[in-house]
């Protein structure tokens, strides 16, 4: 069966929030049919790797199956947070967009089912 790799951006939406030096980033499936793929591939290990440059001291994933959503909490990734960081984006608001770059691999049949075959063919 052929497999296709797409950015998470096409399968889910995300929003980041901050409290102190900790960031939370939600990942919410657009379509419940993609949920199992997301559960298997949007893991603590892969997210910690994606954010490695920010050196999280802890990466936790909380799962909300009824919302087809997960919530990532990354500790100590904001260079001290909104009142201390030198980043333009002191809140880490843009980090939800970094999350959505995560590559996800799925069956070609599922991409057709989700109506993403055009997006898949252009990548």
């Amino acid at each position: 069966m052929s497999r296709v790799t797409l950015p998470l951006h096409l399968l889910a939406h995300a929003r980041s929030g901050d409290k102190g030096n900790r960031s939370n980033i939600s990942v919410i499936a657009f379509d419940p049919r993609a949920w199992d793929v997301l559960l298997a591939q949007v893991t603590e290990a892969r997210v910690a790797e994606l954010f490695a440059a920010r050196r999280p001291t802890r990466t936790a994933r909380y799962v909300l199956p009824k919302l087809h959503a997960m919530n990532f909490v990354l500790d100590d990734i904001l260079d001290g947070g909104v009142n201390a960081s030198l980043n333009l984006d002191t809140h880490g608001k843009a980090l939800s967009s970094l999350m959505l770059t995560l590559p996800i691999t799925l069956d070609a049949a599922l991409t057709r089912e989700l109506g993403l075959e055009l997006a898949a063919s252009s990548i």
Binding site: R15, G17, A53, L86
Partner: protein, 456 residues
């Protein structure tokens, strides 16, 4: 299940932060006034840092220290709120709720309204309530030597509810938990018991969805072609229809843009949440792990399944300290070899600061290549190599300095790039700002005596 209109409390939100739109509440109040049931309007305008800045303003002027845009937020809706019996609840009191209350009473007078019953909720200010020794004992070790600019505990919904029960037309608070601004009116209306944890949790999550204004109505959501939002320039602000049993519907002001759908509600439900089984407020520990959202109709989403557990034993407090200066400077390079010229400009600034003996924490970015994903020390910036040929970049230099003079020196080095830097640099902007650091701690409830009173 059908409910009579009077069994539903409508709560609208007119602002989700201090910088929010001044006219957003107008459509909310028009919608609240057009329905027959009881309604309340809330304003949330107090971020962590906002309160410390307000405290500094109050030190400079005893009549200041509340939300600077207070009149701009309230004036457009005050007459209609009074006419339709819609109480207003806001944390726009910031560091000086009494001065805010006086301002609102004057505003009412200037509009020709009968004297307003304005209540203030107080007791959040730890600098006023605790001895210096008590405060020190709460703080983490590294902060013990610093003098706090502000220290405020997050109060809950009960004082707000009491003031509303007593007939307040406006309730002005300082620091309260944001969702408590909505839960207070619910407690006053439904008389939920103080340990009815499930309903308190439902009201808290309703408040959580309201507290950021447009963020649940398609604001902060649009992603063209992926998540399109209709009429976004006129995005509406949210209204919650709360039922006595804790079930609620999220909707928005009539005749506005934006959208309320299961996606916007889910994004906001998880916003600034950590463990979804334990969302802590002064009122309750909310658990949304079994929550469900259902689209009932266009711009109407029902939320069910929120559960609650006993409120935390202590209250969270935020303490702010003076933390030196932030220096920022920017300059643009465009056209052929723009990235190389921008990078050279950054190296020149680094070199100059070294020669001046200024070893400051320094961040250098090329906006247009990589400006937000990298860490302050540059880690993660290598990914920007793919934009090596970007034809339009803007150097940004940011540094932290303990003293104002050193911060000014950084800004001047960016400014000097006009004549001493690479070819074709333009559009220098520099800024030096005072910084406030913050940290949080837990305060035993017994140390505080929150209260409310009418302001004459």
């Amino acid at each position: 299940m059908n409910s009579a209109p009077t069994e539903i409390l409508h709560i609208g939100c007119g602002a989700g932060f201090s910088g929010d739109r001044w006219d957003a509440a107008v459509a909310v109040v028009r919608t609240l006034a057009a329905q027959p049931g009881p309604a309340v309007l809330m304003f949330e305008t107090l971020a962590e840092r906002t309160l410390a800045l307000a405290q500094l303003r109050r030190r400079a002027d005893p009549q200041a220290g509340y939300e600077p845009s207070l009149e701009r937020f309230v004036a457009p809706v005050l007459r209609d709120c009074v006419a339709h019996g819609i109480p207003i609840v806001g944390n726009f009191g910031a560091a000086n709720p009494r001065a805010a209350a006086a301002c609102l009473r004057r505003l009412g007078e200037s509009l020709g309204l009968p004297a307003l019953r304005v209540a203030v909720v107080e007791g959040d200010n730890l600098l006023a309530r605790l001895s210096p020794e008590q405060l020190q004992s709460l703080l983490p070790g590294q902060l013990k030597a610093h003098e706090a600019v502000s220290a405020n505990a997050y109060l809950g919904a009960f004082e707000i509810a009491q003031a509303l029960r007593a007939g307040a037309q406006i309730v002005v608070t300082g620091r309260v938990a944001d969702p408590s601004l909505a839960l207070g009116p619910m407690l006053a209306h439904f008389d939920w018991a103080a340990d009815d944890w499930d309903r308190l949790a439902c009201g808290t999550m309703a408040g959580h969805l309201l507290e950021c204004g447009a963020q649940v109505c398609g604001g902060y959501f649009a992603d063209p072609g992926v998540k399109d939002v209709p009429g976004i320039a006129d995005v509406g602000f949210p209204i919650v229809e709360m039922h006595a049993d804790g079930r609620f519907v999220v909707t928005k002001a009539h005749a506005t843009g934006g959208c309320v759908d299961t996606r916007t509600v889910k994004e906001q439900l998880l916003y600034e949440i950590h463990d979804p089984a334990r969302y802590l407020t002064p009122d309750v520990v909310a658990d949304i792990t079994e929550a469900e959202v259902t689209q009932l109709a266009a711009d109407r989403v029902e939320v069910r399944g929120v559960r609650g557990h006993a409120a935390p034993a202590s209250l969270k407090a935020t303490v702010c300290f003076d933390a030196g200066w932030l220096a920022e400077g920017e300059i643009s390079y465009a056209g052929p070899n723009a990235v190389a010229r921008g990078r050279l400009a950054g190296e020149i600034v680094r070199d100059r600061l070294r020669r001046l003996g200024l070893t400051l924490p320094l961040r250098v970015d090329l906006i247009g290549q990589c400006s937000v994903f990298a860490a302050d020390d540059g880690a993660g910036g290598d990914d920007a190599a793919q934009y090596e040929n970007s034809p339009d970049v803007r150097l940004r230099v940011a540094a932290h300095a303990a003293g104002r003079d050193d911060a000014d020196a950084v800004a001047r080095e960016v400014l000097a790039l006009y004549t001493c830097g690479p070819a074709g640099g333009g559009g220098v902007r520099t800024q030096v700002t005072n910084r406030l650091a913050s940290d949080s701690c837990e305060v035993p409830r017994g140390w505080l005596q929150p209260g409310w009173s009418f302001v004459a």
